[in-house]
């Protein structure tokens, strides 16, 4: 049998019963035999559609061929030519709608498991380095240029932009408002999906490229962005501050105790490690019955965190149908396996409190799908007289995020679009201010880790080209 005809490898995962009461990673990863066997299925085709399907153009066939040869560390180095965070991307990228979607083998429904292989080589390389007692260090790129560049935000966009700029030979300072790095990788994505030790390693790698990272600096408040550029200390800047403004439902009862934004709920659990309370000081309250409103990856994360914190019944409440759920299929399946219940075509109308101002229930209405709306999805319409009560004691609102205005409203001359996101004028994320680029969720609205990384990468190249042209013209 030719390798391509073999079935795609399946990711070994922990038993749902066992995993749904702890925060240890769910996916177990491939072993070398599985990885090599999967890699052998790759046709190594000449036109490489997978590479163009990747927002950061990872040399996918090349790294997969290195896996075939058992050269796992070399495969990791190959990925890192384009992607500084492979252990993260191998875990959280929606490969099924990117590289794997355009894989030639996908036509037969069995694309190469690119994400699993990426994760595999990153973990192998990290383990090998550890066994040699090495950190996540890289060869420090030579500082070729005198300019210093400011990167605002240490999430996927900022880390990628910073790493690439250091690679080109610039001095880079990344500023992070929180006390720890990683942005959404740290506060948003739970430990069981992305262990924080992995985030630490990836950030250490970026630091080893010579990038300086300053936490506890909210640019706009702690430092004046305008002044940073005006003083000439920074020759250019990249803004990658993320989405970071939680949307609420604007229904009665939303300020009751027991109603969390997904941001607060996940930040408590992930960044503050409230799941380890009282070993960690930050508390989190999860009742017996939790309703998570929304059906994206963030909603799945919140539902699965609730489960792990002891909730007996956890509902995903979503106003459209299963087909429209924005979460990755893999995350929906994981949630279902862990006993999360789906209340689809259901819209919250009011949150009801008890005499102590705590959530007692959520009143909802049933919906049906009508004509397509501006997003092309069929618009959910309320079914008259369908009001019913969902008995819950905790509600997590996970219906998306807007642009946090903290920095953007404190930058002179920075144009924003009608949603408050930074207006960008080309693929690289050029803003209305010369020398300032923006990318990731603050420019595009909430999107994926990898698209933010792609934006960071394109901006880094644009900054390099802009500074080069400036030097040449001087």
């Amino acid at each position: 049998m030719i390798p391509a005809k073999r079935n795609r490898v399946e990711m070994p995962r922990r038993d749902p019963k066992e995993r749904s009461s702890d925060f240890i990673e769910v996916a177990l990863g491939l072993d070398p035999e599985m990885a090599i066997s999967e890699a052998e299925r790759c046709l190594n085709c000449k036109h490489k559609p997978c590479v163009s399907g990747c927002p950061v153009q990872v040399p996918i066939p090349e790294f997969i061929q290195l896996v075939v040869q058992g050269e796992f560390e070399a495969a990791d180095a190959k990925i890192k030519e384009k992607n500084s965070l492979p252990a993260v991307c191998g875990r959280v990228c929606p490969q099924e709608s990117q590289c794997e979607a355009v894989c030639v083998l996908a036509k037969r429904g069995q694309p190469i498991a690119i994400g699993m292989l990426e994760r595999f080589v990153a973990d192998q390389a990290s383990a090998a380095k550890k066994s040699r007692d090495e950190g996540a260090q890289a060869t420090k790129p030579e500082k070729k240029y005198p300019e210093r560049i400011a990167v605002i935000g240490s999430g996927p966009a900022g880390l990628t932009c910073g790493a690439d700029l250091a690679g080109y030979g610039y001095e880079v300072d990344i500023f992070e408002a929180l006390h720890d790095t990683g942005g959404v990788l740290r506060y948003g994505i739970p430990e069981f999906r992305l262990p924080k030790s992995i985030v630490d390693e990836e950030v250490d790698y970026v630091k080893s490229l010579g990038v300086n990272v300053f936490t506890n600096v909210a640019v706009g408040l702690t430092m004046d962005f305008n002044e940073m550029l005006r003083s000439g200390k920074y020759a250019a800047a990249f803004i990658g501050t993320g989405a970071g403004l939680p949307y609420f439902l604007n229904i009665p009862g939303e300020n009751l105790n027991g109603v969390y934004s997904a941001n607060e709920f996940l930040t408590r659990a992930n960044l503050m490690k409230a799941y380890l309370f009282p070993e960690y000081d930050t508390p989190i309250k999860v009742g017996k019955r939790v309703a998570v409103v929304g059906a994206g990856n963030v909603a799945m994360d919140a539902a699965r965190v609730s489960r792990r914190l002891g909730a007996e019944e956890v509902y995903i409440v979503y106003r459209r149908s299963r087909e429209e759920m924005p979460a990755r299929l893999e995350e929906i399946e994981n949630a279902e396996e862990e006993g999360i219940k789906f209340q689809l075509l259901t819209n919250p109308a009011r949150i009801v409190g008890d005499e102590k101002f705590r959530v007692r229930a959520m009143e909802c209405v049933r919906m049906e799908l009508g004509e397509p709306d501006s997003s092309g999805r069929r618009r959910p319409v309320e079914i008259p007289g369908s009001l019913f009560t969902l008995e819950v004691d905790t509600v997590v609102v996970a219906v998306g995020q807007g642009a946090n205005p903290l920095l953007t409203t404190r930058v002179d001359g920075l144009e924003l679009n009608k949603w408050g996101n930074i207006a960008t004028f080309d693929e690289a994320g050029a803003t209305s201010i010369p020398g300032v680029w923006a990318g990731g969720d603050i420019a595009t609205g909430a999107s994926t880790v990898i698209s933010a990384m792609g934006a960071g990468k394109r901006a880094a190249l644009a900054i390099h080209e802009w500074l080069t042209a400036k030097r040449d013209n001087a």
Partner: protein
């Protein structure tokens, strides 16, 4: 890491700490606050800035050690470090020209009041201060208040110093006497601010309050600090902490502040301590 340069006990469980944080000290204005974290396992605690010295690069913080996190903070010895300090957060108070101000402060509410008094004083305002506490020993920072006020009225619940009663008593007396004020500022426990705002509302006296909600990030990202202002949800961390006292839903604020009381008590019990 942020070095602790000075630490004094002002009253039982109330400490004054001077912490090195040059960037924050340079930018802090009246109405701003910081978020502090003691250690790697610590909570993020919002604290008002009592004073800042841009030249020395320091912040003065007043801390009431009521639970585990605040106790951990005040237990940091001079010369040692606070893990994280983020700031200056919040929207700084807009200091307008004001003729006469009546400033009502209770408990450690005097700490966030001082920068406001300093700022209004600079603008030439005449300031009548009402400083209240449960008992004499808890009347902190009296000298500082005096140096910034034209008149100071002391009030204690038990009458051990100054008037016996609540801060709202002299407030009501002064307003009822027909004396003219351009604004009131009330800072202290939520119930005190509520009571003071209720009194000033009767006299249509604009009143500024400073809210101390539960917060995590302090940058508008989590929404945990949401408060109802005239029925509209606002985030205390970025829209405040200053608000129009007549518009705040204090009942909601009080229950939201108490949401983690069980967990806080639990931690203190496991440490063999009493939550103050």
């Amino acid at each position: 890491m942020f070095k602790v340069l000075e630490k004094d006990l002002l009253a039982e469980n109330i400490y004054r700490m001077v912490v090195e944080a040059p960037l924050v000290a340079e930018k802090a204005k009246a109405g701003n606050f910081v978020i502090v974290r003691v250690s790697d396992v610590g909570e993020r605690i919002p604290l008002t800035i009592c004073d800042n010295d841009p030249e020395r690069g320091t912040l003065t913080l007043i801390i009431q050690a009521v639970g585990k996190s605040t106790r951990d903070l005040v237990n940091i010895p001079v010369g040692d470090y606070v893990k994280d300090v983020l700031g200056p957060l919040g929207t700084a108070t807009e200091i307008k020209d004001m003729g006469r101000i009546i400033a009502v402060m209770g408990g450690i509410g005097v700490a966030p009041m001082l920068p406001l008094l300093r700022a209004y004083r600079k603008k030439g305002a005449e300031i009548i201060s009402i400083l209240g506490a449960r008992t004499k020993d808890l009347l902190i920072l009296q000298d500082e208040v005096r140096s910034l006020s034209d008149e100071v009225i002391l009030v204690t619940d038990d009458g051990s110093e100054g008037m016996k009663g609540l801060v709202t008593d002299p407030l009501r007396q002064r307003l009822e006497s027909g004396e003219h004020f351009d604004m009131a500022i009330a800072i202290g426990p939520a119930r005190m601010m509520q009571a003071a705002s209720k009194v000033t509302k009767e006299f249509n006296l604009p009143t500024l309050v400073s809210l101390n909600s539960i917060m995590i990030d302090g940058t508008g990202m989590c929404g945990g600090c949401r408060v109802s202002i005239n029925g509209e949800t606002k985030f205390a961390c970025v829209d405040g902490p200053d608000f129009d006292g007549h518009a705040v839903n204090f009942d909601e604020l009080v229950v939201r502040q108490g949401y983690y009381r069980d967990e806080e008590d639990h931690v203190c019990r496991t440490l063999g301590e009493e939550r103050v």
